[in-house]
């Protein structure tokens, strides 16, 4: 489990068919310590949570495809 920084983000209100009923949710590109970037979901985002570029996030698990998931500390 490692830290990363929010490189950019967006909160989604109009989802794809698979994510109907889960809005709003936040997706982000996070930059890891080695400089690589990865697309992820910020799991503990809820309406009103403040997101900003440069915020620190923590890896907190993986989805079924093996994509790393992150949350705000």
């Amino acid at each position: 489990m490692s830290d990363a920084i929010i490189y950019t983000y967006s909160v989604i209100d109009v989802p794809t068919a698979e994510f109907v009923g889960k809005t709003p949710y936040a997706v982000a590109l996070v930059e890891r310590e080695d400089g690589s970037r990865v697309l992820t979901r910020i799991l503990n985002y809820t309406t009103g949570t403040k997101l900003e570029i440069g915020m620190r996030v923590l890896e907190c698990g993986q989805d079924e495809k093996g994509n790393s998931l992150y949350s705000l500390p």
């Binding site: 490189y7 950019t8 983000y9 967006s10 909160v11 989604i12 209100d13 109009v14 989802p15 794809t16 068919a17 698979e18 994510f19 109907v20 889960k22 949710y25 997706v27 982000a28 590109l29 690589s36 970037r37 990865v38 697309l39 992820t40 979901r41 570029i53 989805d63 495809k65 994509n67």
Partner: protein, 388 residues
């Protein structure tokens, strides 16, 4: 390479047409283009068709064969070109190259998409398939959210105001008011654009291009043959063409605020045409989202990095401006029938160069550029057309 000219253009109105089939849209636009060229159908030797996703949205693949049958073109070779939102521009490039290299003398290039009959989340899923299904869509990313992330990063890097995005929408809506084929005929304000239905922050509905039914076709041949047709209108030549690529995943792009595929495709087109960005009189620029137009106008060399939004604010890109962008209304307000969009741009550029654009006719229209991207700028085509 032989010189290539656009000698026929035709399009349907763009909009939501629940009663019109793919065939119906194709029939109208295809026949209009052929009639406009004055050529008998028997001359057409091949068809290239831009179509993104009728397989998913309409349950119809093998679109090339369907179109040649519908248009009674006989048993000519056909090919569907699929490169997400750049399908149309790249179908045009394929047709152009086949004529330029002497494989064919007469080619029909078209694009069609029927989208509005499906529910929003189904269309959202269809569009999202232009992104990476395992590493982007599976995580819940939508297409608007990918460009929204680009917008947030752009505003962070260049400290540019959110209002600049809204101004792109306002300007394209203004232009579409003058385009009878446009889907959207509604004047909006910056405030309305800022406070629209939230889609993916910072985007509201007004930052997003439209979901559209429509078809566009063009007939191309060599300039030499075009001159012999004695068309009572200026000759429109394709003087530059470029095609470039980039990674499909947003995370693997070197920069989110410069689209390298646009930079590379534009360079190819400028070099081929022996022209520079400052020679271009007007352009149709891919505006799937408001930020996309801003970044692309910079990457095409029209404005310095970070100043694309300022140019809109200053009126430089309006129909009366120094460098009109999207006089048609663009994807934002003319509409975005995905596979037809690249051809819709060629249609507008050709119309302007001929001097047939009616109320929105530009005063200075000798050299025009059409720019079409697919995905998060993972594919790009650029064409430069010139009146002779």
């Amino acid at each position: 390479m032989r010189e290539v000219a656009v000698v026929g253009i035709g399009e349907t109105k763009f909009g939501s047409f629940p009663d019109r089939s793919l065939r119906d849209l194709v029939s109208e636009a295809g026949n209009k283009a052929i009639i406009d060229s004055g050529l008998p159908k028997e001359k057409i030797q091949a068809l290239y068709l831009g179509n993104f996703n009728s397989s998913y949205l309409c349950g119809q693949s093998h679109m090339g064969a369907l179109v040649s049958e519908e248009l009674n073109l006989g048993n000519i070779p056909t090919l569907r070109v699929e490169n997400a939102c750049a399908s149309g521009g790249l179908a045009f490039r394929m047709g152009m190259m086949m004529v330029a290299t002497g494989v064919y003398d007469y080619v029909l290039v078209g694009g069609v998409e029927k989208m509005t009959h499906r529910e929003t989340e189904v269309v959202t899923s269809a569009l999202a398939s232009a992104a990476d299904s395992e590493f982007e869509t599976a995580l819940g990313a939508t297409f608007p959210s990918l460009f929204a992330m680009i917008a947030n990063r752009y505003m962070y890097e260049y400290k540019s105001p959110r209002e600049h995005l809204a101004m792109v929408a306002v300007q394209n809506h203004d232009n579409a008011l003058l385009n009878p084929d446009a889907q959207m005929h509604k004047k909006i304000t910056v405030e309305k654009a800022l406070t629209g239905l939230p889609v993916a922050s910072p985007f509201t509905l007004y930052d997003c291009s439209l979901i559209t039914d429509g078809a566009v076709f063009v007939v191309i041949t060599t300039s030499e043959i075009a001159k012999s047709l004695n068309q009572k209108r200026p000759l429109v030549e394709v003087v530059g063409s470029g095609h470039a690529g980039d990674s499909i995943q947003l995370a693997l792009k070197k920069s989110l605020t410069t689209f390298s595929a646009t930079v590379d495709a534009a360079k190819q087109a400028y070099d081929m045409a022996k022209l520079r960005p400052e020679d271009i009189n007007f352009a149709e620029v891919h505006d799937c989202f408001t930020i996309t137009q801003i970044i692309n106008t910079e990457d095409l060399g029209f404005f310095e990095k970070g100043l694309g939004g300022k140019a809109v604010e200053q009126g430089l890109t309006s129909i009366e401006g120094k460098l009109p962008i999207n006089p048609s209304g663009g994807l934002k307000a003319k509409g975005h029938p995905i596979g037809a969009t690249g051809l819709s741009q060629i249609f507008e550029v050709t119309l302007q160069l001929r001097g047939e654009a009616g109320e929105r006719q530009l005063k200075n229209a000798e050299i025009g550029l059409a720019h079409n991207i697919g995905g998060t700028a993972a594919s790009c085509s650029v064409h430069i057309l010139r009146r002779r």
